[in-house]
């Protein structure tokens, strides 16, 4: 089979698998709910039939599982497609969104809100503001560090991705030191909050956060998926891309901004979920090669699938307790990735 037919097949398979996994995710959890009940709840919502399902079952489906599932898809997709874009832009297989400092900056922002929130916002009586302070500061931290990294890598001659990579490493170290200080001053209770936040969770999803994800992440995923042709050209080298008529500097700025947005929003609603952005694009590349026209949309879909699978494990493996999803993505992603590398090592070398 040639590559383009393989790519088309993969896209079709993923496009079928994604809705299937979404349905599976709505049907999975510590409370057993029959598929029939779920169907009848939806039919009822659509005004077709009246359902005889108990209020609690309805609540679990409508207010817990459905938002959680939809948010998981959006976050998984945007992390994976952002990872694929960064790997393409930096021409570095190890690049993931954390390379431009966005994750570490977001973590520091959230850490400040969690540990010092009581002091910083003591004058704020608006509880809504307090509730969202972690998300807001996480987002601000992510965007701010990205801006610093971008500025450090940019001169009159344009942006140097090599300098940006180094600046990203440096600013991550700095943010790490900031986290160390926060860990040191935090008392036991906030320390646990901080640790859990860093391990990520989509268990807190509600319809507000779903709406936020759809309005902010939806356009971002769509936009990044259209960068296939441009990223293919960038893969040849920056001057080659310029000769092909691409405004390299603008592309870089746009991609970095959009990625910072995608990851910043994801991190601010779900905490840090590692490995999706790194592993998913590699899986796709190993299957169908590096053509970004396939890689970007396929990563977006597989990212959503993978995150939902991880979340299904997170919510059931230790029920009635729940595993932080960041642990599951790493536990699942890393061995899977290693075994693929092992099988393909000759081809890569």
């Amino acid at each position: 089979m040639n590559r383009s037919r393989k790519s088309a097949l993969l896209l079709i398979v993923l496009a079928v698998a994604l809705p299937a996994v979404i349905v599976l995710s709505i049907g999975t959890g510590p409370v057993s709910i029959s598929p029939l009940d779920i169907v009848s709840i939806f039919l009822d919502r659509l005004g077709i039939t009246a359902s005889a399902v108990s209020d609690q079952t309805r609540l679990i489906v409508e207010s817990i599982r459905l938002p959680r599932t939809l948010m998981g898809v959006m976050i998984g997709s945007s992390l994976a497609v952002a990872g694929a874009s960064m790997q393409g832009l930096f021409r570095n297989p190890l690049a993931d969104p954390s390379i431009i400092g966005v994750s570490s900056g977001a973590a520091l922002g959230a850490g400040i809100a969690i540990v010092l929130g009581g002091v910083l916002f003591s004058g704020v009586s608006n509880t809504l503001m307090l509730d969202y302070s972690v998300s807001l500061l996480a987002f601000a931290g992510g965007v701010l560090t990205t801006w610093i990294v971008y500025k450090m890598g940019t001169t009159n001659n344009g942006t140097s991705v090599a300098t940006m990579l180094l600046a990203g490493v440096a600013i991550s170290a700095l943010a790490g030191a900031g986290m160390g200080i926060l860990n040191y001053v935090a008392d036991d209770a906030t320390l646990r909050n901080l640790t859990f936040w860093q391990m990520g969770s989509i268990g807190g999803a509600n319809w507000n956060s779903v709406l936020l994800c759809f309005t902010l992440l939806g356009p971002v995923i769509f936009m990044l998926c259209r960068y296939g042709q441009v990223l293919n050209a960038m893969l040849l080298g920056e001057s080659e891309a310029r000769h092909l008529g691409i405004d390299v500097q603008r592309t870089k700025l746009k991609l970095i901004l959009v990625t910072a947005m995608a990851v910043g929003v994801s991190v601010s609603v779900a905490g840090i979920i590692g490995f999706v952005g790194l592993v998913v694009p590699h899986l796709i590349r190993l299957m169908v090669g590096p053509d970004h026209r396939t890689l970007l949309p396929a990563s977006a879909m597989l990212g959503g699938i993978l995150l939902l699978a991880a979340d299904m494990i997170a919510r059931t493996a230790v029920a009635p307790a729940e595993l932080p999803i960041g642990i599951v993505t790493a536990l699942m992603g890393a061995p899977f990735f290693m075994s693929l590398l092992w099988q393909q090592r000759k081809r890569i070398a």
Partner: protein, 299 residues
Amino acid sequence: MNKALGKKLLAPLAAALLPLSLSFSTMATVINAPQEASASEEKRIISAGNGITEIIYALGAGDQVIAVDLTSNYPAQVNKLPKLGYHKQLSAEGILALKPDMLIGTDDMGPKSTITQLEMAGLEVESYNTDNSAENIHERISSMATLLGKEQEGKELWQSIDNDLKAAEKLAEGKDKPKVLFLLAMEGRTPSVSGSGTEANALIKLAGGYNPAEEQFNSYKPLSNESLLVMAPDIIIYSDRGRGLTQEQLLDSQPVLKQTPAGKNGRIMMVDGRLLLGGLGPRTGETALGLAKAFYPES
């Protein structure tokens, strides 16, 4: 996609799906468990927070508890119950799957989103504030006793705690307060010292001691050897997290302790730290009296 590649992908995919199928089987057992016991008329209670769990059992309502959080480990029966994970990381669906009538916990319970979801699902959620004072234990016990319909037991429980606390107070009466430091062992590192806002600090005070670290910092902080010497504790309470270290072994591994008044006079108490770490509760009176006897051996 060619066949060979498909085969290559299948093995790791199966490896990734294995935990998924395992989790389905554990899920099934969780759902089946509660239905067997649902015949009784009493409320099915979930307790989140070890101080809360202890009070429920001390009030004699332990048989109504169907699940507890990870921090609850006393009395021993609770270890047989399903565990909900850490009380700040509760899962709404996990809790609902156990079909409880009531969730009792502390203000530390969370995340907030879970609590909101549980309240929306019609679960009765009661949360108590905990601030490490004797008045707070009294309030918590009497209000929980009312909630659980165990008023008489509540009064008796507080009476016995209060008697112990008063006895401890009496031992300390008219004497100079000894300087007491609580050290929490950290594997291979400088032990952490309890500052203000900790249970250990509250207990030291209830037992008639004075914790010089109280004014310096809150929570647990590693203390430099120099600061330790400056604080010059008369008594050191050392928690080795149940490793069973002897006083000699401790002094050998932390020679600086020998230079403190406590080390010189052999007044280092080795304790199982879990007693002093779990939040104040029904056993606080007993523990405070025990400490007071050690602080004031001559009376």
